[in-house]
């Protein structure tokens, strides 16, 4: 490792000409350089200023009040989605998916959307701490360098424990750090481990790799508890691929078939065509049975015997096998299980079905999960034996999410160094507690899928004294180069050459920065399958009468984002509950235990020192023998949100002081056959007789009218229409069109002419997975406040988008329909007529405008809104955190108390696009305006456009056979239409209420 001697033209010098000058000038030029760079390549530098207030004198090149976009990469999880960060006056205010990005294709999940708020978390660690006392970096560097040298001198063990790292430059830095140190090891682990997939491929294909999955290539998808639309590995990428084949249109009425086997209820299961309940311990045999059935169809000598015979789900498995076999080469089997036996059979099935190289690929493996559970287990042993001299932890929180057998010896590690945001449990145990840069304030790179390189750019200078792992390691090696120089140099030396020398490095790097990523075209050959690798063990014994399954929840995932109030208040797509985790029980099991939702039970899990109390949530579609509890809760310090909502004398705290939001069960997980398992835990349930309030945004979970209250013949409401693929392909319209298509029935003359534009939205319910990315995207865009648990339980959540979730079916076949519901901008808006002060009026472009200034707050409009999408400011919601306020969108008013609000169709974006078109002297084109929810949607289920333009996409969607307006029969003429769900089931399949529309 050469010491830093920058030559002209070296490193970032061409970007930032001040790099090789004396310190004071350098500092000055850095600040100036930040301004220049922000217009084109923002954030290649760190300005010395620590001010977070909007600049009084703007940096050169920025136009005050004008947004600019920075292409970067999301680090909310390891999926590495491409992101465009919208910055205003030198600070990021909103993250959006990068539509050009080859993996995420423009979507960004709820977790990614919320990253911008985490940046401004005022409780983040601001400066290094040694033994709990503030210290400066110079001292930390000095002490750690000495300690490392000392350990190395006596041949001691240094361990680096991280989450998945796919950043080439960071990995290179680690490699350099490790060079020559035989005692060093880098252990990667994922709290949501899929290590078994990698292990299984090591066995079956000789490479320890995670395949990249191409759901868009599959005609038939069989998923065994892989929640690939919600939480599994790379949900945005997978959902976008999945949706390509899930939305038949009038010309091409075809779609893929998706069959889900799962123990709990997930958004993926909800979207499936067929769903079966399968306990985690039944998976191995079920997948084996599937393989056996496929082998039977493939002919030749079968390797698996006895799995299918007498299987509880024999018929559906055989049916599925036939469908998969028919789709040979276009079939995909996936499993979320972290059990090597299950994954071995999955690999076998995919091999039999000719999937490798087509629907999944090892030639171009995914690097989004690289954790190795065996390494973690080994580290645990080392720690327990006191063999580790120095443990550096970065991007991981083992004290929180690993089994307690890991966390306990952690504190005894000779020297614990933790580089993190400081909010995590592990850093609280550390001698050296070091602040990590947030992804939006640091430079970096990533390679989520082999050959797909993406870049991170700082959108704002470091708010605090954070460093990246790469920078920390460089400093410990005495390398004083700036972090971005390290990245750039790595790209110059290692990545650029792979793209051939056709382009100068500077141009190549510049283009990559601008685009956010570069992609290698070539891929190697698929490794060969070793047929002898098939696992032998088929049966996994149930852990007892009842088994505990820990599952990740949309948004909070492994809990790394538990300090983000947006995610805490995001209603879970499946249960619609906020601010808590709970024990999901099936209806039958709950009845047997004599409990209902909100009853407190005590869970005794062997891995935990004491029993934990959790409220019950009765979940239709849940396996009877499985109690499911979400991971990601019980994070230390989450009582910071106790008073996140308005405080008044009848309000209750979101969480008691000193307590945590939800309960953490992750330590009860265990290493089982070398893999971290949280789905096969014995558990005992004890009913306490107490109750605990759960704050849900939806109380009535189906479209069915409660028993005994339904008018005859109207037992089910038809807000969501569903059709079967067969009926749709046969050209049938939606039943009930007679009363739904109440078009030109208008006694009143049109008094709202829309001469230029008529904004409208269409939502494809066939593609909507309920993932809730739009909810958080809208919240970020429109300054929607967080109101806290008490307010949510009083049904006063403020989200402008509500994702209605209606469960359907009984027993095994439970699925759910999702319907994003927001202001429908009715042409005959009931709300407009009733406001006494004209605070809600119709625009000449068909928008139903809410005028906050004029609103006196009678709530009459909200009462009369048939969709109940209006939100009232019951209080002045807290906005005291000035750092957090930096996220607020300057284009949108922060509403005061007593004022009504609602979806505005992102009026500010419409205005911005119109101004931009006017400035460029051109007409507004279809697609110029992307509203926030539309932008965030991973499946492009939401479309916005101009109905006055008959050629616009939205006009075309409005004319589709699947299009209908909700409550159209009221003749309020909503400007939003929904495209009916399509399920790939035979015509007239019973068991679902909505099928009556076919």
């Amino acid at each position: 490792m050469k010491n830093q001697t920058t030559k002209p033209g070296d490193g970032a010098a061409t970007l930032l000409p001040g790099e090789n000058l004396d310190p004071s000038r350098r500092a000055f030029l850095r600040a100036a350089g930040f301004g220049i760079a922000s217009s084109a390549l923002v954030g290649c530098s760190r300005g010395p200023t620590r001010s977070i207030i909007t600049n009084a004198i703007a940096p050169v090149g920025t136009v005050p009040g004008r947004a600019y976009w920075v292409a970067t990469t999301c680090e909310g999880c390891a999926a590495g989605c491409g992101v465009l960060a919208k910055c205003r006056d030198g600070r990021p205010v909103k993250l959006e998916g990068n539509p050009e990005h080859g993996l995420s294709r423009g979507g960004l999940c709820a977790t990614g959307q919320s990253e911008v708020l985490s940046l401004y978390d005022s409780l983040r660690l601001r400066e290094p701490q040694v033994d709990g006392a503030p210290a400066d970096w110079a001292r930390v560097d000095e002490e750690l360098t000495a300690r490392i040298a000392e350990v190395r001198r006596r041949g001691g063990r240094i361990r680096l424990l991280t989450g998945t790292i796919h950043s080439p430059s960071t990995l290179a830095a680690i490699e350099r750090f490790a060079a020559g140190d035989k005692g060093f090891r880098h252990v990667q682990y994922d709290a949501l481990s899929v290590s078994a997939i990698l292990d299984a491929h090591e066995r079956s294909h000789g490479v320890r790799a995670l395949p990249s999955y191409r759901f868009g290539e599959a005609d038939v998808i069989a998923s065994f508890d892989a929640d690939f639309l919600g939480t599994w590995i790379s949900p945005v990428e997978f959902a976008s691929g999945w949706a390509v084949r899930r939305r038949p249109d009038d010309e091409h009425p075809s779609m893929s078939l998706h069959v889900q086997f799962e123990a709990g209820m997930s958004v993926t299961g909800a979207a499936a065509d067929r769903r079966y309940r399968l306990a985690p311990w039944e998976r191995a045999r079920a997948v084996a049975a599937l393989c056996e059935a496929i082998e039977g169809l493939a002919g030749g000598s079968g390797r698996i015997h006895g799995a299918l015979e007498g299987h509880r789900l024999r018929e559906p498995i055989e049916e599925l096998a036939a469908e998969l076999w028919q789709a040979h080469g276009k079939a995909l089997v996936v499993s979320g299980s972290n059990d090597r036996a299950v994954q071995g059979f999955v690999n076998h099935a995919n091999e039999l079905l000719g999937g490798y190289g087509r629907t999944l690929s090892l030639a171009r493996p995914s690097l989004q999960r690289r954790g190795c559970d065996r390494d973690v287990e080994a580290l645990q042993r080392e720690l327990a034996n006191g063999e580790v001299d120095l443990l550096i932890v970065s991007g991981a929180n083992p004290a929180y999410d690993l089994p307690s057998s890991f966390a306990e010896p952690l504190s005894s590690a000779a020297t614990l160094v933790v580089l993190s945001d400081g909010l995590d449990e592990t850093s609280r145990m550390a001698k050296y507690r070091l602040p990590a840069s947030h992804a939006l304030e640091s430079f970096g790179d990533g390679e989520p899928v082999a050959g797909h390189y993406s870049l991170l750019q700082a959108c704002v200078p470091n708010l605090h004294q954070g460093r990246t792992l790469r920078e920390l390691l460089a400093r410990l090696m005495g390398d004083e180069r700036a972090d971005h120089v390290l990245v750039r140099e790595h790209w110059r030396e290692h990545i650029h050459p792979r793209f051939g020398a056709s382009q100068e490095f500077d141009a190549f790097f510049g283009a990559a920065l601008e685009r956010g990523f570069v992609e290698l075209a070539a891929a190697g050959d698929e490794p060969r399958y070793d047929a002898g690798s098939l696992p032998s063990a088929v049966a996994d014994e149930p852990p007892g009468d009842l088994g505990l399954m820990l599952y990740p929840k949309v948004g909070l995932l492994d809990g790394a984002h538990a300090h983000n109030p947006w995610l805490q208040e995001l209603p879970d797509p499946v249960t619609k509950v906020t601010w808590d985790n709970y024990a999901c029980l099936s209806e039958e099991r709950a009845a047997a235990l004599g409990v209902s939702s909100g009853d407190l039970v005590r869970l005794k899990v062997p891995g935990l020192p004491e029993a934990l109390e959790l409220p019950v949530l009765v979940q239709r579609g849940q396996h009877d023998d499985v109690v499911a509890v979400a991971l990601g809760y019980g994070r230390a310090g989450t009582d910071r949100f106790a008073r996140v909502g308005p405080q008044w004398f009848e309000s209750s705290l979101t969480v008691e002081d000193g307590e945590t939001i939800g309960v953490n069960l992750a330590p009860s997980r265990e290493f089982r056959n070398g893999n971290l398992r949280g789905d096969h835990l014995p558990v005992e349930i004890e009913v306490t007789g107490e109750s605990y309030p759960l704050a849900a945004t939806q109380d009535h979970h189906t479209l069915e009218i409660p028993h005994g209250l339904a008018p005859k013949g109207h037992e089910v409401r038809d807000a969501v229409l569903t059709t079967s693929l067969a009926a749709y392909a046969a050209g049938e319209g939606l039943h009930g069109e007679e009363h739904h298509g109440g078009e030109d029935v208008n006694l009143w003359p049109e008094d709202h002419p829309k001469p230029r534009h008529h904004w409208a939205m269409a939502v494809d319910l066939a593609a909507c997975t309920g993932c809730s990315a739009c909810v958080v995207g809208c919240q970020a865009e429109n300054n929607v406040p967080v109101v806290g648990k008490d307010e949510v339980s009083r049904h006063r959540e403020m989200h402008w988008i509500r994702i209605d979730r209606y469960l359907e079916g009984e027993g095994d076949g439970v699925t759910a329909a999702y319907q994003p519901m927001f202001c429908q901008q009715c042409d005959n808006a009931p709300c407009e007529a009733v406001c006494p002060v004209l605070a809600t009026v119709h625009s000449t472009e068909g928008l139903n405008q809410q005028v906050y200034n004029r609103c006196v707050g009678t709530r009459y409009c909200a009462n009369t809104c048939p969709y109940k999408v209006r939100r009232f400011n019951w209080f002045n919601y807290p906005h005291e955190d000035r750092l957090q306020n930096q996220q607020l969108n300057p284009d949108v008013t922060v509403r005061t108390r007593g004022v009504m609000e609602k979806c505005s169709f992102c009026a500010q974006r419409i205005q911005e696009a119109k101004s931009e078109a006017a400035r460029l002297g051109r007409e507004l084109a279809d697609g110029d305006i992307l509203v926030a929810c539309q932008q965030s949607c991973p499946t492009n289920a939401i479309l916005f456009g101009d109905l006055n333009d008959p050629e616009s996409k939205v006009s075309k969607w409005f004319e589709r056979r699947r299009a209908y307006g909700v409550l159209e029969e009221l003749n309020i003429r909503p400007s939003v239409r929904y495209l009916a769900r399509v399920r790939n089931v035979p015509e007239g399949t019973p068991s679902h209420g909505e099928e009556r529309h076919v």
Binding site: W648, E704, R802, C835, T858, A862, P866, K868, W874, N876
Partner: protein, 459 residues
Amino acid sequence: MSDSILETPLITGNRTPGDVTRDVCIPLEGRPGRSWYVGFLIAFSVLAVGGAAVIYQVATGIGTWGLNRTVGWGFDITNFVFWVGIGHAGTLISAVLLLFRQKWRTSINRSAEAMTIFAVMCAGLFPLIHMGRPWLAYWVFPYPNLRGPLWVNFRSALLWDVFAIGTYFTISLTFWYIGMIPDLATVRDRAKGLRKRIFSILSLGWRGTARAWSRYETACVLLAALATPLVVSVHSVVSADFATAVIPGWHATLFPPYFVIGAVFSGFAMVLTLMIVARKTMHFENYITMKHIHAMCKVMVFTGSIVALAYTTEAFTAWYSGSEYEQFVFLNRMFGPMAWSYWVMVSCNVIAPQLLWFKKIRNSLGAIFVLSLVVNVGMWFERFVIITSSLERDFLPSSWSGYFPTLIEFGSLIFGFGLFFTLFLLFCRALPMIAMFEVKSILPERKSAQSAAQRGEAA
């Protein structure tokens, strides 16, 4: 019903005009009795507690009420409609019965009108405090302004309310005041010192000349004619708040007559409640006789039956409409989570008043008093049921919710009652509660002359 009333004298006890003046003026001139103090203390305490709740709510936000994204109105508008309804009996008694020359009204019309004024004051407060930003409440008035000018929305039933209630209050107040002038002059003539000065101003120099009386009578009839359509219009407009909205359970053409008759029903119940108490405590048994009470009972049983018919019609219309939403709202109202409130309403408003068919009940002041309270409770629940049960479960099941009032909301409820009774008790002490000059006009002439002669002899 008037036949039976005309058979026997309306005023008993052989009162002379002088007696009338003395009887009515004594409460104004002496020190109040203990029962008044107790009553006032209770009423004022309730007002103070309720007022504190209202101040807290205005200072903190509407969130201190139990409303939510689905149910945007609860106690606030229930109280509003309830108090507007209470006011109706006053106008009906004073204006309509004046035009119909119903002489029995003379003993009760003054207090009934006072009740109207106070009830409308209470009613007017609720739309004010129910606003998210009540300090901007003046925006509901179409006044010339520099904001554009920004105008109000003439399509909004809430705006019609502003006009309807405003007109109603103005006319009622004027009518009440004009109707009081001769009596104020009587009080003036009996008073000394400061009271005399005050009543001199209030009585506007009334001298009781024939010309004054002639003009006075004309003015009263004119004002009565003006007030009469208000009996119908005010509550029709209030009902339009609901009828013009698309919410099933609100969106019904039946609402205007249904609300008007309900208002009269509840108004008479309130008059009865007040009169039974006042009659006893103020010793007005000779003026407010059982005849009056019977007459009001009959009005109640009549209007109560119309209310029952309205409930039936409403449910029938929902069924007959064929609209699943309408049908569901009524099934939900009757058997859903808030069914108890519906059945409270039916029991109080439909079943209980039927007892008044029995003469025995009509002769029992205690029973009538209880029934009048029951009807008031029932009519409060009627508004509550209409508002909340329609809102809580409307079109999309995802948004279905419930409604649980907070303590602050109960505070706002008692605030209305505290204000009403405080004002009414002050009225009892400060102004002649019975229209002396009108009562004098219906005194049984002969008997009173006799008694005067007797008294003269005794003297």
